[in-house]
């Protein structure tokens, strides 16, 4: 399930993105994500991290270039085939984007319900997940009654509940205390060990050191560089992947 047909999860080739007629917020971005790898995406505010993640979780189409995801051309893919790709993704949005009228438990259940998982197979894993992120006693709480940190944990639980092939997290530890941040990072690592490719956007340099095997992609004014060679050399845990061209 986690293996793309040609050994790559995502491939960006010369991708550019502009909103309207403004200047490009992403320029000539090229990289490949391999199955089972852990990537940090860093860069200053306004560098284009969120825009790049939007392209990754298929909320945006690029202005130019080519994007392949799970072996499919994500740009020319018909709309009715996008949901199947999106179900292979787990996304932690920077602003959490919890559904306001649903309780914590229903928010976390949402990806499973959308995927058509029977209700009898949803309750326990969702309850366990909420328990694990420390929200066992807040299951029926609506987002408006949760603190920022609690909302973030619900958003993370929702992103990982379906064991996605690719987890994309935009500043996932920005609103939680350091202990919880470490705990959540361990969750991402655990998922990563199970085969999920993880991309975490952050500007917290301390976080980068917490995952020793991680690879770093850096965005600077919409252009990508890779200080750890993540884009130039095959990642350590990549299976059957060859080298890729750099950004």
């Amino acid at each position: 399930m986690n293996q793309a047909a040609d050994g790559e999860i995502v491939h960006f080739d010369n991708v550019g993105l502009r909103y309207g007629t403004d200047r490009e917020v992403l320029s000539d971005v090229s990289f490949t994500l391999y199955p089972g790898s852990f990537y940090f995406l860093t860069g200053a505010s306004g560098a284009g991290k969120t825009s790049l993640l939007k392209l990754l979780y298929l909320a945006q189409r690029p202005s130019r270039g080519m994007i392949r995801m799970f072996g499919a051309d994500a740009i020319t893919l018909p709309r009715d085939r996008l949901p199947a790709l999106r179900r292979r993704l787990g996304v932690v949005f920077q602003d959490f984007r919890l559904v306001p009228h649903l309780s914590a438990v229903d928010n976390v259940s949402l990806p499973l319900r959308v995927a058509g998982i029977p209700e009898r197979d949803i309750a326990k894993p969702v309850a366990d997940m909420l328990e694990w992120v420390g929200l066992g006693d807040r299951m029926q709480a609506r987002p408006a009654t949760l603190s920022g940190g609690e909302q973030q944990r619900v958003a993370i639980a929702r992103a990982v509940i379906g064991r996605p092939d690719l987890l994309v997290a935009d500043e996932p530890t920005g609103n939680v205390d350091p202990d919880m941040a470490i705990k959540l990072l361990r969750l991402f690592e655990a998922l990563n060990r199970l085969g999920t490719t993880v991309v975490v956007a952050t500007h917290d340099v301390h976080l980068l050191k917490k995952v020793p095997d991680s690879l770093i992609m850096r965005l600077d004014k919409g252009r990508l560089s890779d200080p750890t060679g993540a884009l130039r050399y095959p990642p350590k845990r990549a299976t059957g992947a060859g080298g890729e061209d750099e950004a």
Binding site: L58, Q60, V99, H101, L110, G136, D137, M139
Partner: protein, 318 residues
Amino acid sequence: MNESGGGARALAWRRLSGVGEHELVPQARLSGPMPWVIAIMVALTVIAAAAGLALRNAASATTAELRGGVTVQIVEASPEKRTKQAQAVVRRLGRMPEVESVRLVPQDELDGLIEPWLGGKAGHDDDDYESADEAAIPVPALIDARITGEVTDARLAAIQAALRGEAPAARVDAQSRWLKPVLDAIESLQWLAIALVALLALALAAAVLLAVRSALGANRDTIEIVHLLGATDRQVARVFQRTTGIDAAGGGLLGMVLALVVLLFLARRFASLGAGMVDYGALDWLDWITLGFVPLVAIMLAMLTARLTVLRTLRKML
């Protein structure tokens, strides 16, 4: 922990009711104006359809009764001659092969026909009546005959020619000719009823379209989130379709009850008129079944409109 137990119970209830599956986007069932709008539309549609069906029944029953009907008037001032001529005409018509039945309209019936306009004594110009001054109006004798097939001008002329020997001043008319303007007017009203039903269906679809568009706009963020989580357009459309269906079912039922109350009230009012053509307009069981389908069709139309509106709108989103 207690809240966890409550959460498990709530989850169990959701699994039983299936509510959770349909809460991808929030919907305020039966609290918005939609059920009431649908109720009014359905009530008006049922009333318009019932009127159309009643008019159709009245027209077809009247047409059937008048088909082949011929009226012979014996216009003769002298009561004796008039009676003799009428009896001779009845005998002559009875011998004609195309005549199925013939009947001399009794004097009492004639009195009843003219009484509302001329009073109870107007038709009594015969000798046994007490005052000649009060019996000054000679009322023609009427013969009601029924012939096989359609009554055409040629057949009327042939009958008139055949009766010339018995009653030179006899006037032969097709009964259907008298009511033709009325039947034409009824047909127009039937078309009006059909047009009303069509317009009400259109208005219902438009109301649902606007309501669904408004709901889509209000829930745009939520729809975007569930889209990003992998929901298909059809899954989102099903939520709106189901909610609209529930609203339409409630509204349809209410509208049907409202229409039935109005129809029963009108039926009692018209029944008290005791007029022949109005009686013909009564609805039969098949008509009631047809009217029973109106709310069902309204529900299906509302659901279909909701589905198409959602699918069309979502097509513009990524």
